[in-house]
């Protein structure tokens, strides 16, 4: 067992982990931040996407020990300070960007990473960026629409509801 310390959503967090403990397991099982979902556990589906030092990673395919000292952001830290939904989260609600919701934490974290680097992405760029985030409900159209809307762009011309 080894001690790891990191910043999670702006707060200091630490714990004892085994070498094999995944970052997703540390977040969910030890920090009880269960908003980060584990879908496939094989780095395909993207439900577990979090930000580590500002970039999107699949937390099921990173060891907790590797995140020692890192700045980690999860879905729990995305809402505004007053508890209201942030722009991306609100856009997902407004544009029906989710159905069962299982993939949504990863979708929102990927969207946040995309918009940080590319504040006004094209529809094709959004779809390309979501290559590693799988949704089995929506068919993606409304997720793409939500992300476009969150970037402040007109979404009238994007695929029908």
């Amino acid at each position: 067992m080894a001690q790891v310390s990191m910043t999670v959503n702006g707060k200091a967090a630490s714990g004892e982990v085994e070498g094999r403990t995944l970052l997703s397991s540390f977040l969910r099982d030890q920090l009880k931040l269960t908003g980060t979902h584990v879908g496939c556990d094989t780095s395909q589906c993207g439900a577990c996407v979090v930000h580590v030092d500002g970039v999107a990673v699949k937390s099921c395919t990173m060891l907790a020990a590797e995140a020692d000292g890192a700045d980690v952001a999860t879905i729990e830290g995305q809402a505004n300070a007053d508890g209201t939904l942030n722009v991306i989260q609100q856009a997902f609600q407004d544009h029906h960007g989710l159905q069962c919701g299982f993939c949504t934490p990863g979708m929102v974290m990927s969207a946040a990473a995309l918009l940080k680097d590319n504040p006004k992405p094209s529809e094709a760029e959004v779809r390309d960026y979501l290559e590693g985030n799988i949704c089995r409900c929506t068919g993606y159209h409304n997720i793409v629409k939500a992300i476009m809307a969150a970037s402040g762009q007109d979404v009238g011309a994007i695929a029908a509801e």
Partner: protein, 263 residues
């Protein structure tokens, strides 16, 4: 996963020492292949030596001879963003896996693993890259020795990869849609001394050069120079995604597309 210890050395020399302490030690690059492998219990190291904290193995720079030098622990995302002096290489890196995978996966990890369907082996072989390790420099032609097999010794670490920059180059990947690995990928690079063509995803022996296509393209660098050339599918990978004959056909198609795109 079986359990293991994790160490994070800050210098190449310390990593080499950690790896030489025990034959049950294994280097960990970005972990995008190794961690899934460990989950399946296909590997059971006692100790993983993470290379992610070694700053001297990170980044893209320009060598004195104009080549593009990439540290072994450099992520695909960084290569995509910073290897602009070799646009076809940056474009190749930009289409490996997905964005989150590109933020972790490294060039050294990919080349050390030498997956028969990975993109970087094709780029390195077609470019005649030099694979620099903690112990020596290995030419790409000597480095790739078959599926998941390389010239690396136990505990040897890829510290840098040096790519001579070609006059024209392009990589065309026919994506296997579930994994986003190459069903077939072809990297074509035109140098003053001739054209090199490297193909990944197709052969049971891993990445390989297509000599007949290279000869034809060195005389006439156009897709029509490839008319009539074909590869046999007999020794190619046959699986549920495609037969050997299908992959052999794709090799010629993707080579033509790469030549056309390279201009």
């Amino acid at each position: 996963m079986y359990n293991f210890d994790v160490v994070k050395p800050a210098r190449i020399a310390d990593a080499v020492k950690e790896l030489s302490d025990s034959s049950e030690s294994q280097p960990l690059g970005g972990g995008q292949t190794l961690i899934p492998t460990l989950k399946q219990r296909l590997a059971s190291p006692e100790k993983l030596v993470s290379l992610a904290g070694i700053d001297e193995m990170k980044g893209v720079c320009k060598g004195e001879d104009g080549s593009v030098c990439i540290g072994g622990a450099t992520t695909h995302a960084t290569v995509a963003a910073e290897a602009g002096d070799y646009p076809a290489l940056a474009a190749t890196a930009a289409h490996i896996g997905d964005p989150a995978v590109r933020n972790r996966g490294t060039i050294g990890g990919s080349l050390a693993n030498n997956d028969p369907s990975a993109c970087y082996p094709a780029a390195a072989l077609a470019s005649g890259a030099i694979i620099k390790t903690n112990a020596r420099e290995i030419a790409a032609d000597d480095y790739f020795q078959g599926m998941f097999t390389t010239a690396l010794d136990e505990g040897e670490i890829i510290t840098e990869v040096r790519f001579p920059v070609p006059e024209a180059a392009n990589y065309q990947k026919f994506v296997q849609p579930a994994s986003r690995f190459a069903l077939v990928g072809v990297f074509v690079a035109k140098y003053g001394g001739g054209v090199r063509v490297a193909i990944t995803g197709a052969s049971n022996d891993g990445v390989f050069r297509w000599a007949e296509a290279e000869a034809a393209l060195s005389t006439n660098f156009s897709a029509s120079a490839l008319d009539g050339l074909s590869l046999s599918g007999d020794d190619m990978i046959s699986d549920l995604h495609g037969t050997g004959a299908y992959r052999a056909h794709l090799c010629a198609v993707m080579t033509k597309r790469a030549v056309t795109a390279a201009g």
